[in-house]
């Protein structure tokens, strides 16, 4: 049961509205390849779950077409789509044992008793719960229920698995462990997975590609590293990871680099990502770990900041400082021997490379 499985999915100009007045999903175009692990990431109300429900068949699309393996499925009822689904609260049937839960999709398909048992056994082994077949879901811990839910979605060998915030109810440690397990299962089986979450760490660790949703629109569709390092707009930069914002105006554009004048008059050089012309307002986006308190050779940008607060976190020190009128500017300083001593109230010089500083669309 490895390789050459997985289905392709295509959203073509899909729109969705519940009340005819507000579009929850606005013009969605998305191609998901066979065997891909795609995560729909976004804040609540961004339309990501609606997209998943349309794909599962529980919500009709108001406009546009969804294709599964190049076949349109708008008029295919959910039970004929052959899509495995893991729900937020697992939705394990409480009146059935674990084994009966797993056998349910097989019984629906009129599979023989012996084959059913073999498949259930294999699925339970896959999620490392071989002894738990006769238990009721209520007798399992959250993590075990989660695994059973995954096993149930996989047991009838679907080509596409949908997961709707499946780890939301677990505690942090268990969640991280389950992330790896789900990722491994995906790698071993080669099925296509569409995963919905609002947790960016989850999205970054598990996915091949992440679609960041906001306001019913995909803001960016990229592999995790690209998403983090080259955000296409301010929303993505803000939503993924920690981010420092500096507002300014574009004064010159030279190829990929633009000059930006900050509110306090300081001139900065930044990577031109999402600005059009000279004179535009822009927000510079800068990751805290890319700011250095010792300005290195070749760093295009340097500025003096006032240390407001120091938070000791062991491996690094989190320094909150006021920079160019932004009192929430954060710098992560690695905890190294011989590092210069920092104190609250101190003014220090900080610097960064232009390539780490993205000029994006302006926010607030």
């Amino acid at each position: 049961m490895t390789t050459e499985r997985g289905a392709s999915v295509k959203f073509d100009k899909v729109q969705k509205s519940y009340d005819g007045e507000v579009l929850v999903v606005k013009d969605l175009n998305l191609d998901i390849e066979k065997g891909e692990f795609l995560t729909m990431l976004g804040p609540s109300g961004s339309g990501k779950t609606t997209c998943l429900m349309m794909l599962a068949g529980f919500e009709p699309a108001s406009h546009g077409e969804i294709y599964l393996n190049e076949k349109p499925i708008n008029n295919v009822p959910p039970h004929k789509r052959g899509v495995g689904m893991v729900f937020q609260n697992y939705a394990l049937f409480p009146h059935m044992t674990v084994a009966e839960n797993l056998a349910f999709p097989l019984q629906v398909r009129n599979m023989g008793k012996a084959e059913q048992e073999a498949k259930v056994k294999r699925a339970l082994e896959m999620v490392e719960l071989p002894q738990f077949g006769s238990r009721r879901p209520a007798q399992l811990s959250g993590g075990q229920q989660q695994r059973v839910a995954v096993a149930r979605a996989l047991v009838f060998d679907p080509d596409l698995i949908l997961m709707d915030e499946p780890l939301g109810a677990l505690d942090k440690q268990l969640r991280e462990q389950m992330q790896y397990e789900i990722k491994h299962i995906h790698e071993n089986l080669g099925v296509t997975v569409v995963y919905v979450t609002h947790d960016q760490t989850e999205a970054l660790t598990m996915s091949d590609r992440v679609a960041v949703f906001n306001d019913g629109v995909i803001q960016q569709l990229s592999p995790p590293d690209e998403l983090y390092e080259t955000p296409q707009n301010s929303f993505v930069a803000q939503f993924i990871g920690e981010n420092n914002k500096l507002n300014g105006t574009v004064t010159a554009i030279n190829g990929n680099i633009c000059d930006v004048k900050l509110a306090d008059g300081t001139m900065m050089k930044a990577d031109k990502v999402n600005v059009a012309a000279v004179g535009d307002a822009t927000t510079l986006s800068l990751r805290p770990e890319r700011v250095e308190i010792i300005v290195a050779d070749g760093m295009e940008n340097s500025i003096t900041g006032h240390i407001e607060e120091l938070i000791y976190l062991g491996d690094h020190i989190r320094v909150r400082m006021s920079v160019a009128g932004n009192p929430e500017f954060v710098v992560k300083v690695r905890n190294r021997a011989g590092e210069q001593k920092l104190a609250e109230g101190q003014d220090i010089k900080i610097g960064w490379f232009a390539s780490d500083c993205k000029a994006l669309d302006p926010v607030g």
Binding site: A56, G57, F58, P77, P78, H79, K80, R81, G82, V83, G84, M85, F87, Q88, N89, A91, F93, P94, H95, F104, P105, V108, R109, R152, A153, F156, L162
Partner: protein, 421 residues
């Protein structure tokens, strides 16, 4: 090791008092306060519910009116062999005369007469008639004087009844309640055409089961709708479900009379639509159909509410999960949704069944003769025939029947499977 074992055996406080004693002392005030809080209700229930019912139930076997009113006769008749076919001796007649002379002063002889009349019709008038003469009896030769007062005193059967019911406790009411009688050959069922109570018990059971079943059939979809509609519309629907609760039971039952009678709204409509001919109007009332229709309507909320509260807790994602695994709507309902609603069906069925098995007012009004329940017969004996002993015996049998069914239900379905919300 043994040291710790000993300290484990009796844990003491620092003062050396055993810990358990100390805890009990500390909690005593709490317990007393809790008891005091429930004491008024407990007393109220005891006086207004438990005591009257216990007294009523005791009446089903109570018979001390006979030994109390006829104390000498009861002793004297003890020696008489009732199967000999001969009349009792002069001493028994003498004792009865003495007893009756005392009883007529307090007029209690008529009550003994009525009591024994349940067992042998004619006894009431016999005692009444004799009571008028007995004070004029002369000493000696009582047998002759009794026979002169009423010829029935020469009939062995009346003496047999007195002897049979001379003890302060009797099973006679229960025999009567189960359509049996004591004959010379022992206890036997009455003749087929004289049996009434077994038939009534059977009918009460059958109708209650029918009513419960139709409540399930009608209530299940409504409860499902209530549980799945958005809050605003489900609140409105809930008010409609509860509306009957706010109307008098009598009004609702009378409304059914208007609707169901031969010249009533339903029949008129059917005739007008041409579905039923004018000469063959349906008999919908004063029979079992009427009882079933009216009682299903009245008891429906007791089915809907527990069903609703159970369905409310079933997340719609279960159905979605089932469908995502390939189940059709019907299969998902039958395998996933329905089994989870069984506790609600159980709770609703128990409520409706137990309420309907003891129902009185509706069968009385719309049931006619073929649609009445055992409770109507009990009410008849309480208020019309004044045979309270028989009414009590029927009541005890009904109570035992309900408890047996409850026990059976617990054995088969399990009472912890019942959920009211």
């Amino acid at each position: 090791m043994s040291d710790t074992d000993q300290t484990m055996a009796v844990l003491t406080t620092q003062d050396g008092v055993p810990l358990k004693v100390s805890i009990r002392r500390a909690l005593r005030a709490q317990k007393i306060r809790a008891l005091l809080l429930v004491a008024p209700l407990f007393l109220f229930i005891l006086l207004s519910f438990v005591a009257p019912i216990a007294d009523m139930l005791f009446r089903s076997v109570e018979n001390d009116i006979v030994p109390n009113t006829l104390p000498q006769t009861v002793v004297a008749i003890e020696l008489w062999d009732e199967n000999s076919g001969e009349l009792p001796g002069e001493d028994v007649y003498a004792a009865l005369a003495a007893d009756l002379q005392v009883a007529t002063k307090s007029k209690t002889h008529t009550r003994v007469g009525s009591r024994l009349n349940y067992e042998k019709p004619g006894t009431s008038s016999l005692f009444r008639k004799t009571g008028r003469r007995v004070n004029k009896f002369e000493d000696g030769n009582y047998k002759e004087q009794f026979l002169k007062a009423d010829k029935k005193w020469g009939d062995v059967e009346y003496w047999q009844v007195i002897k049979r019911f001379s003890s302060p406790l009797t099973g006679g009411y229960f025999l009567a309640a189960s359509d049996a009688e004591r004959t010379a050959d022992g206890v036997q069922l009455k003749a087929e055409d004289e049996r009434i109570y077994l038939l009534l018990f059977g009918r009460t059971l059958m109708l209650s089961i029918t009513i419960t079943a139709s409540c399930i059939l009608l209530g299940y979809p409504i409860a499902w709708l209530l549980a799945s509609l958005p809050l605003r519309s489900s609140n409105l629907l809930m008010i409609l479900v509860l509306l009957p609760f706010w109307t008098s039971l009598l009004v609702r039952t009378s409304a059914w009379k208007v609707l169901l009678q031969q010249q009533g709204v339903i029949n008129d409509t059917l005739v007008w639509l041409g579905i039923v001919g004018d000469e063959s109007r349906l008999a919908l009332i004063n029979n079992q159909t009427g009882t079933i229709i009216a009682m299903t309507h009245i008891l429906l909320p007791f089915m809907i509410l527990p069903l609703f509260s159970v369905m409310k807790t079933i997340s719609p994602t279960y159905m979605r999960a089932a469908k995502s695994m390939g189940a059709t709507d019907w299969y998902a309902f039958w395998r996933v949704y329905f089994p989870q609603t069984i506790p609600g069906i159980g709770a609703g069925s128990i409520l409706v069944f137990i309420l309907s098995i003891g129902y009185y007012i509706t069968p009385e009004l719309v049931g006619g003769t073929s649609g009445i329940f055992i409770s109507n017969r009990i009410a008849y004996h309480i208020s019309s025939s004044l045979n309270w002993g028989l009414a009590a015996a029927l009541g005890v049998m009904l109570l035992v029947l309900v408890m047996t069914l409850y026990w059976l239900y617990d054995r088969i379905v399990g009472i912890d499977n019942v959920k009211l919300g």
